[in-house]
């Protein structure tokens, strides 16, 4: 276990593309077997409960198939995706420039540190009742909630990103009279991206969690509402089907993020060494 650790860790990100074909196929088969085994365990567990409490996976997936043929299903999924995406874009468009601007000034950074530290630790869900009263059970309400929670990691990491400008690099750029535009393009931006990406990853997770939470608790349209609604009618099969939908949304978001990260940070040695969420 210890000897191959070096190659394994450095290659872990690229593992899928590096592993030779036959071994890869074998692993896929093993993984499929593990998933099937999990399904069997779920089926056996469902025998122990009344079928309305824990329906077997076959019933849930059959129901999911039926639901996928209804327009209501797609409008719920569409609204959730749209809310999540718009919230994330707002967070990036506001959080990154504001964070970089604050980070560029020491006075601004220190003045806002305590304030952001405090705002960041307020559980965003705390403002849900207020938003419900002011905005109602609408998509806008969920949007504000998601932005209110997800913007902090992005903003704070952007502040760090602006502050990482290593003195040595700045000095060197000065003494070699490197043009400002070139400096920003080739030194500042590549140095800042890893920081921003860390914030973005956290922000993405929180954004999806809050989108679904807001819909579920606030009865705003979307996948979260469908889960709550199915539960209110004691229709557990439908509820599980929508929980699976939320898992698929999470998978897509995670997968998309990794793809983006690999593209943007191919060159960066510490791609692996950051907090995962």
């Amino acid at each position: 276990m210890t000897a191959p650790a070096v190659e394994e860790t450095t290659a872990s990100i690229a593992a899928r593309s590096v592993t030779p074909k036959p071994a890869r196929l074998r692993w896929i088969l093993i993984q499929v077997a593990a998933v099937v085994l999990a399904g069997v365990v779920w089926s056996l567990a469902s025998l122990a409960f009344p079928s309305s409490t824990l329906p077997p996976p076959t019933a849930v997936f059959a129901r999911l198939g039926e639901l996928a043929l209804t327009p209501g299903f797609w409008s719920a999924v569409g609204i959730t995706i749209a809310t999540f995406a718009i919230a994330l874009v707002i967070c990036i468009v506001v959080g990154v420039p504001v964070g970089l601007a604050i980070g560029a000034s020491t006075v601004a950074t220190q003045s806002t540190r305590l304030l952001f530290d405090f705002l960041r630790t307020i559980p965003p869900i705390a403002i849900l009742p207020l938003l419900l009263l002011v905005l109602g059970a609408e998509m806008e309400m969920v949007l504000v909630l998601a932005v209110g929670g997800a913007i902090w990691p992005i903003l704070i990491q952007s502040i760090y990103a602006a502050r990482q400008g290593e003195a040595l690099l700045v000095e060197m750029a000065k003494s070699y009279r490197i043009p400002k535009a070139w400096f920003i393009r080739h030194i500042f931006v590549p140095g800042a991206i890893p920081f921003v990406m860390t914030g973005l990853r956290l922000g993405t997770t929180i954004c999806l969690l809050l989108t679904i939470s807001g819909e579920l608790l606030g009865s705003a349209p979307g996948v979260g509402y469908e889960i709550a609604n199915a539960q209110a009618f004691y229709d557990n099969t439908r509820m599980y089907a929508y929980v699976i939908v939320s898992a698929v949304l999470g998978l897509i978001v995670n997968g998309g993020f990794w793809a983006l990260q690999r593209r943007l940070l191919r060159w960066h040695p510490s791609v692996r060494g950051e907090a995962r969420s």
Binding site: T2, V35, S111, T112, L114, T121, I122, S213, Y242, A275
Partner: protein, 263 residues
């Protein structure tokens, strides 16, 4: 003397903006007639009534603290244990990777109805939901941290015949520590969210319950006081976390300082 002065000016620099905003909020809301945005004075009065009187504070905070303490505790222990297992037994980790990826992709809150069906609507359900939802960041970061342990350290431990238990606790978990803490910090934020959400169903006490009943009974200043209380709770928990991190990872800090000095 000059050190004191720089310290004072640093504190002043950090405090002026938050204080200014509170003052602005106080005066801007003083004559507010809006139903949803009562004067700050009224909010603080309500805060004192609901969160500073011992027996009311206990009824409002007690259940929440129980959910946070037990749920977060189970999440940490479970996340570190399973994460270490997956990080050490590589073939097993690879075999179950699709299942892990699928399970962690489910937003914890989406499982609230499921947990109600399985575990009822009482305190154990809330604790389990928090434990489940908050375990993922710790688990994944432990997994990564355990995997990234310096191989030379492990080889050396083997050469010196360091026992299994010591190898696990003093080498593997120790060097994975910084990353485990990075995950635990994210878990703490998730713990608070799931705690509030889970308390909106079937609870008879707790911050989430207070928040939602205040909203549905239209006691707006009480609702605001709960938001303030949650903010303070979140902030205090983060400070506690930072103290724990400093204590547990002091070797890490010392090492970094030494490295900096050497370079």
């Amino acid at each position: 003397m000059s050190r004191l002065r720089t310290w004072v000016s640093l504190v002043a620099l950090e405090l002026w903006l938050p204080l200014l905003l509170v003052v602005i909020w106080w005066f801007a809301s003083e004559n507010s007639t809006s139903v949803y945005f009562p004067p700050l004075r009224v909010i603080l009065q309500s805060f004192a009534e609901n969160w500073l009187v011992p027996e009311r504070a206990l009824a409002n905070l007690g259940p929440s603290l129980q959910v946070i303490g037990l749920g977060y505790g189970v999440a940490l222990l479970g996340g570190i244990a399973i994460g270490t297992l997956l990080g050490l037994v590589r073939p097993f980790e690879r075999a179950v990777r699709p299942i892990v990826e699928a399970l962690r992709a489910i937003p914890g809150v989406a499982l609230l109805p499921l947990f109600i069906v399985l575990f009822g609507i009482d305190q154990p359900m809330r604790i389990l939901l928090v434990a489940y939802g908050a375990a993922w960041p710790v688990l994944l970061n432990t997994l990564d941290g355990v995997r990234a342990v310096e191989p030379t350290l492990l080889d050396m431990a083997r050469i010196f015949r360091v026992g299994r238990a010591r190898r696990l606790f003093q080498i593997i978990l120790r060097s994975a520590g910084p990353q485990i803490f990075a995950g635990a910090r994210i878990s703490l934020a998730i713990t608070l969210i799931i705690m509030v959400v889970s308390e909106t169903v079937g609870a008879s006490g707790g911050v989430g319950y207070f928040l939602m009943t205040a909203k549905s009974e239209f006691r707006i200043s009480s609702m605001w006081s709960a938001i303030v209380a949650l903010g303070i709770l979140g902030y205090l928990l983060n400070i506690l976390f930072r103290i724990a991190e400093r204590y547990v990872l002091r070797w890490h800090r010392l090492q970094q300082a030494r490295l900096e000095k050497a370079s």
